[in-house]
């Protein structure tokens, strides 16, 4: 009984992990159909901000939940204004440019902080379930993933800003005609997506530690989740995370973590062969 509970919690953790990793990317992709290839480095930046400010004496939770999203969000807006803005409509060029940015950031952070791992210990200790010990931090991750999804959904559904965002997503030209500055909407979206990515980076920093090249370890999972999910921000992220999280966690139980990613990719490839627009390209089409 306890073992089953543990497995369920592990599954949930794997799913929330993917939700956290991918939602920032999914927000940007859902709005602009552009994949931010520097996503991993945005995560890395969030992690660095968290750990550096914690080392400087800031409370870990403030660093993680306030500073990291704020700084990465502002950084995202700067990136949008100085780079992405000029490349709208040239999707491939924006991929190339963000990839250049990603390499530049890895190089830049290595230059500044050196190529060493830094970290803090995972807060909150553990909970015992029967004979097993589960880190309480897992529940924090699951909680944050749920809150994040709920927050994005309610913003899109119930606020004026959400309405504008949905309109721009559906038909940018029409939205522009109706007096919405789509370029500002894009800027805001990129900023919010970056902030969410920064938050995710902050949350995972205590688990993995930070190193300039850490982004590489997460972009695979994030990209696969987003493209498998398709263009809907919430339904896509949730469905893809659930599917892929279950598969990768199952694979990890069976063979160890190395083949988890490969299994993810294989699933995604087969799935994309059938559903080239991702899951939400055909199922849950009308959802957010």
């Amino acid at each position: 009984m306890d073992y089953v509970l543990i497995i369920v919690i592990e599954m949930l953790r794997a799913i929330s992990w993917l939700v956290l990793l991918a939602s920032g990317l999914a927000i940007i992709f859902g709005m602009m159909r552009v994949i931010n290839f520097a996503h991993g480095e945005f995560l890395m930046l969030g992690g660095y901000i968290t750990i550096m400010s914690h080392n400087a004496g800031v409370n870990l939770w403030i660093a993680m939940l306030v500073l990291a999203p704020l700084c990465v969000g502002i950084f995202g807006i700067l990136v949008e204004r100085f780079i992405i803005r000029f490349l709208y409509g040239r999707i491939l060029d924006s991929l190339l440019a963000t990839w250049g940015l990603s390499l530049l950031m890895v190089g830049g952070v290595t230059l500044v902080f050196g190529n060493t791992v830094q970290g803090v210990s995972t807060p909150l200790g553990g909970v015992s379930i029967g004979a097993y010990q589960v880190p309480f931090y897992n529940f924090v991750l699951i909680g944050f993933a749920a809150v994040l999804m709920l927050a994005i959904w309610s913003v899109l559904k119930f606020t004026k800003a959400g309405l504008i965002a949905r309109a721009t997503m559906q038909n940018p030209d029409m939205a522009e005609t109706l007096g919405i500055r789509t370029s500002w909407v894009y800027m805001a979206t990129f900023g919010i997506g970056s902030a969410v990515t920064g938050l995710a980076g902050g949350l995972l920093a205590p688990l993995t530690g930070v190193v300039p090249s850490m982004g590489v370890n997460f972009v695979g999972q994030s990209f696969i989740t987003v493209i498998t999910g398709g263009a809907s921000m919430i339904a896509g992220t949730l469905s893809a995370s659930t599917l892929l999280g279950t598969i990768s966690q199952g694979m990890t139980f069976l063979t160890g973590p190395v083949y988890g990613d490969a299994a993810l990719l294989l699933t995604a490839l087969v799935l994309l062969r059938v559903l080239p627009q991702g899951i939400t390209g055909r199922i849950f089409k009308k959802s957010l």
Binding site: F29, R33, V34, I35, F37, I83, F86, L87, R90, I91, L92, D93, L95, L96, A97, W99, G100, L101, S102, L103, L104, M105, V106, G107, G108, T110, L111, V216, V219, G220, F223, I224, V226, I227, V258, Y259, D261, A262, L265, A268, L269, V270, L272, R273, V274, P276
Partner: protein
Amino acid sequence: MEKTLAKDIGFWVMLGIGLAVMFIGPMVWGLFEIMQITQYVVLSVYALSLAYIWGFGGILSFGQAAFFGLGAYTFAVASINIGETTVPFALSFLLPAAFGAALGYFMFYGRLSDVYLGVVTMVVTLIFWKLINHTAGPEYSIGAARLGGFNGIPSIPILNVPGDAKAWLDPAQMFQAFMGILIIVYLCLRLIIASDFGRVSVGIRENETRASLLGYDIRRHKVIIFAIGSGIAGMSGAMWATYQTFIDPNAFSMEMSAKALVWVMAGGVGTLAGPILAVILLQWLSLKLGTMHILNNYFILGAILMGLVLLLPRGLLPSLRLLAERLWHLGRQKMDASAASRKATSDV
């Protein structure tokens, strides 16, 4: 616009330069220069693989390193097991080409969009890199060859004369052999591009819908283009492995994929000579910058990539050509104008 290969001056110039370098080079250069230039030659073949699929098939692959690395590892494992290098060299073309075809089947028959294509190719490379990094233990060996994980595979055999496993090539001969391969690859690609198949693939690049409405199977075309590019990338990987006599997982790295993209972008998408030029220029530059130890490779590579996309999206060679054409027209206009004005004054 009809321009057959035989009438293209650029083609003959490239061929002439290639042959001249191949035969005169070893007489003029010392050992160090030859080793250095051999590296450019290998990387030029690698650059050509992406130049072809991107420039003439419209397929932007962010994971050319996957095939480069696959070819390198295929060559390493096969040549250590077999004990000679001719069959492994052929395998290093065939296996990546087959893998490229399989991957291409999923991507192109699924009609994935450009963004998805970029992501999938990149993730494939990432996963190769991760997997091969995890093969450090002795249980991961294929025949006599241990994969070695992040330590890489040392003592890969040097290329030998086909049929004689003991007749290893010395650096000058290796340079000539590789130069020969580069010329053959260039020649074959030019022939493919000039053929009906190549014309259709350019047509697909320009307008997929139109090409498919004209009755061409764009999916099959793209798979074939992708497989050819993958095979060439794999072969360049094998050349790299035997040139260094060592290969490690960095063959699969982001840096390797990014380099190919940078070369093709810098040289100009849609040209073959441009990327070769870019390889020589940028590798030389990074050698010079690398000795300064101020900036690291990733930083430079990223900066160049971003700079190219934002400032010089056409690439070096086409931009130069455009500039020359503009100047030419400007000069012509000025001359016409001055001639006209002279005429006008004389009329008055």
